[in-house]
């Protein structure tokens, strides 16, 4: 059963790491000479690499907020899991942990969806969506599965 515990924690931490990397790395869209993400638009013009803050649109800020919130909720879920591990009674379920984790996955999903919908406005047709964006989409089912496992899991005798 220790293996089960380790596996669950590993899954949770993996989802959390994916969320971190996806939020901070500048690779949501990549083109021939520029890449942009939630925070910066970087471009390589005439051999010099130059970054400027992303446009101050309302939607990109919403995506930023949702990604950060998902990280916060996932961290809270991890802390609450360890708390509940020691204080939950027999037969109890990790509802609280599961709730936070599922919320985290919902936030990631809405962030990615908003980015997808608004991307024609920000991304020129010559540019493709980058790997950090794909990581966000991968983090969503991982977090969702992790949350569901917490909800189903029961402290048995």
């Amino acid at each position: 059963m220790l293996i089960l515990l380790l596996g669950i924690v590993f899954l949770h931490v993996a989802a959390l790491v994916l969320l971190f990397v996806s939020t901070t790395v500048s690779a949501w869209t990549t083109g021939a000479a520029r890449s942009s993400d939630l925070w910066h638009n970087c471009s390589t013009t005439n051999g010099e690499f130059h970054c400027e803050p992303a446009s101050t649109g309302e939607w990109i800020q919403a995506v930023q907020a949702l990604m950060i919130l998902s990280i916060i909720f996932s961290v809270i879920a991890l802390i609450v899991f360890f708390c509940q591990l020691f204080t939950l009674q027999k037969g109890g379920r990790f509802f609280l942990t599961g709730t936070f984790q599922i919320f985290a996955s919902l936030f990631v999903m809405s962030g990615a969806v908003i980015y997808t919908v608004m991307s024609p406005k920000w991304v020129a047709p010559t540019e493709t969506l980058g790997w950090a964006y794909i990581l966000a989409w991968v983090a969503f089912p991982l977090a969702l599965i992790s949350g569901l496992i917490y909800v189903i899991l029961r402290k048995r005798e």
Binding site: L2, T56, A65, I72, T87, E157
Partner: protein
């Protein structure tokens, strides 16, 4: 002895200000404005010398994307001379006070073509060595929201809601335990107490101490 001291102090007073004698000009860094509105571009300077009567202010303008700048305003000999041929004719007004080292100008009825860099250069003879300072003008249809305002607002709202829910939950539990509320008191009260009170042994045998006989 006294004369030597007096001469030395006069020489020092003459030398020291000259070494720190560079005029420093202050304008803003960037200005945002709406189409059709007016904007006041401020320019002031710091100088070790008294403000002389020959103080001069001059503003020049370089449109976005252009390489050359044109002169649009000059104040000299106590009189301002505004642009009467260039892009700002009839739209430029001098609202500064040279005696107070203020060389600000007022631009009226802004348009998208006024996007660019405005440079202010001031001279306060004999203090003429200094660097001109530039302010960038951005004209918008509507003023954009600052970066990060909405982000912070969303995060703050959600976390605030979370804290509120937690506070309300504990408040309800507290009130139920105190029998203030009469709704399913026994069930909630017991469950709550059960959760807090007992430290039951768990199945997962977390790495710290577990006693095998207890988990039968």
């Amino acid at each position: 002895m006294l004369t030597i001291l007096a001469l030395a102090s006069i020489v020092l007073l003459g030398i020291v200000p000259q070494q720190s004698e560079a005029i420093v000009i202050y304008t803003g860094w960037e200005r945002h404005a709406l189409v059709g509105s007016d904007i006041r571009l401020s320019c002031s300077f710091f100088s070790w010398r008294w403000t002389s009567e020959d103080v001069t202010f001059s503003w020049s303008y370089r449109p976005d994307g252009a390489r050359d700048s044109i002169s649009i305003f000059h104040y000299t000999g106590g009189a301002p001379y505004v642009d009467n041929k260039g892009p700002f004719r009839d739209r430029l007004e001098f609202v500064g006070n040279p005696a107070r080292r203020d060389g600000s100008i007022l631009l009226k009825n802004l348009d998208y073509g006024d996007n660019g860099t405005f440079t202010c250069d001031a001279k306060n003879p004999p203090d003429i060595v200094g660097r001109a300072s530039s302010v960038r003008l951005l004209v918008f249809e509507k003023v954009p929201i600052q970066a990060g305002v909405i982000t912070g607002a969303i995060i703050g709202a959600v976390l605030g809601l979370l804290v509120l829910i937690v506070v309300i939950y504990y408040l309800m539990r507290f009130l139920v335990a105190r029998r203030v509320f009469n709704l399913s008191v026994s069930k909630h009260g017991r469950k709550g107490k059960g959760k807090e009170g007992s430290q039951q042994r768990q199945l997962w045998r977390p790495p710290p101490v577990t006693l095998l006989p207890l988990t039968s």
